[in-house]
Subunit: 204 residues, 4 copies
Amino acid sequence: MAAITTLVINCTLKASPATSNTEALARNLTEALEAQGIPCEMLRAADYHIPPGVSSDEGEGDQWPDIRQKILHSRILILASPTWLGRPSSLAQRVLERMDAMLAETDDAGRPVAYNRVAGVVVTGNEDGAHHVISELSGALIDIGYTMPGQCWTYWNRGPGPGDDYLSSDAGHEWSERTARQAAHNIAGVARALESTPIPPASG
Amino acid sequence: MAAITTLVINCTLKASPATSNTEALARNLTEALEAQGIPCEMLRAADYHIPPGVSSDEGEGDQWPDIRQKILHSRILILASPTWLGRPSSLAQRVLERMDAMLAETDDAGRPVAYNRVAGVVVTGNEDGAHHVISELSGALIDIGYTMPGQCWTYWNRGPGPGDDYLSSDAGHEWSERTARQAAHNIAGVARALESTPIPPASG
Amino acid sequence: MAAITTLVINCTLKASPATSNTEALARNLTEALEAQGIPCEMLRAADYHIPPGVSSDEGEGDQWPDIRQKILHSRILILASPTWLGRPSSLAQRVLERMDAMLAETDDAGRPVAYNRVAGVVVTGNEDGAHHVISELSGALIDIGYTMPGQCWTYWNRGPGPGDDYLSSDAGHEWSERTARQAAHNIAGVARALESTPIPPASG
Amino acid sequence: MAAITTLVINCTLKASPATSNTEALARNLTEALEAQGIPCEMLRAADYHIPPGVSSDEGEGDQWPDIRQKILHSRILILASPTWLGRPSSLAQRVLERMDAMLAETDDAGRPVAYNRVAGVVVTGNEDGAHHVISELSGALIDIGYTMPGQCWTYWNRGPGPGDDYLSSDAGHEWSERTARQAAHNIAGVARALESTPIPPASG
């Protein structure tokens, strides 16, 4: 099983090097994980060519296999997404669709590869929608086999109506950043618990 | 078919006469409808005894039949809900469950009774969640047979994290109230279009 | 304003000419619309290069402007989506993100261009999820300005657990196809009502 | 902290002794937990008077405090819900609203009382909607502080369209019951991991 390291997949619609509000908020969570001795890597889905599909390799030019290897090498996965029309970004759903194949990929004990792995969520938006994005991503990650710790997420937005972005406003940063640190603490705690005492193989 | 009048069901958890933020925001919508000559009545689900169930009359003590009569006498229905844990209130879901029976109740032409009726949504919260509440209530109302006009809703909340209520903050009122007036305009427009040119009975 | 014609955007993950269950179910709806004299065009999002973004033109190689023109020329829009992890496909969300720009594009009367247009939804899946996909797509389309008629959708899936596809099973076809015809009737009815009696411009 | 015992709150709309499909499916999960030596108690929310509100005690006649004590005495909580209009039952949302107060109730180390507790979900329906119900309940439970193990749920329904109930059909039982056993295994595993290695108090 993978070591306790973290992969953050930032599902912003913007390729590097454009500024990403979602990346900026996610940095609070990765800094708190690193302060606990957990290495973190962050990538943007928009920097990769990820064709639509539900297999682990869609062939010529598909860069998903690179991301998939990083996912498999990390015990912790953070999905970070902006909010568009109140919903997770198309790239967040694309990542989940490609991860769908992991349901049928098993470890040595015959279990889905995501078992005993832990996930969290980061959401930003220029409008309301974060709780829903968290529920959508959590529901899908649990389906794939990830364990979601209590309060394993943070978010930032300002309602009502469309308005500021995380980096264009000072409002609410204290709450979102404190919540990120708490999420990191909970994610690290559950990852360590499952490393010490993994869910055992089913007896039959 | 019912005249163009409006029933607002406020699904706050608080019975009268407790102050309701949701009622306060919904007043902006009803005032705009009344300014167009459309009478409005507002009630609180919490003031009625509405036992759980999916029939139009759950028997002794059930006050749903009173609300149901008001729904049937109004061409326009507004569901107004607070946001709890990012979701519609339990009373909003209770109202929808009781309305579920309307799917099997038909007009003279054999169509579900909600056909040619129009609905809208009002959401308040002390935290993020409004877009999701709107989608949940809209999805259910469309299922029952209501037509949902474009931008037939307004909402108010302030993120990130739990905080002020609509009546305890001045922030964002201009946007939420302007959006309420626009929603009223759209709802009235579609109600009039369907009064002039109803969806005809299916030819077979 | 556009004539009463229909554009179906099939958001299957599979490019042509692969068989699409979603297309097959959507054909029931387009056939019923055509029987009412309403011309229909269907395209697959997967056949176009639609880069991530929230503008109407993301530049060099972006084929979204072609789809956008078709949307603007059709009074009726049907979003058809498969179900992956219980949610709309990444291409459905991509289409909505690109349509987000339509919120700021106005007609001669200063209204969002989607006003007085009508939408519907078709969903297939090899597992449960259709009601949620319908709510997600309906919520977003209402946000953009489309009017959603009562019961403007159909779906097909078989639970529990993953299993057959629409084209690999005979079960439930009668219900899904009858529901498609009813949806076509309702969509055509509301489109005609809004052609005869459009939502007027706001008086100020 | 509570011992590893399980409380199942069945959120069917039907009070005892009416037959509950949701209870019948949930029994597969409790039997599998009991086979692992984990005692289980099941109750129906509909058998209690639970007034609307978001406090732990709404006063005279409120029976929520009885349920709350059972929740606090059990390390594992299973929310079991029927599907109405594709969504969790009004009683499931009522339970979550009342649990909302737990966010502000802390253990000796100053953490929300739900920390280091584990939850799961059971869903039945006479129509599509289970994945959404699972995401809604999971999102809310994570918010409150519960850890949700990978694949901690089971469901049963048959689409498309309304139809059979779990107990009125033999179809799909094998999948739903096997999935219940797998969920029990995962829930027990994560509960034991967090008993052995709890999330520690935050260092400051």
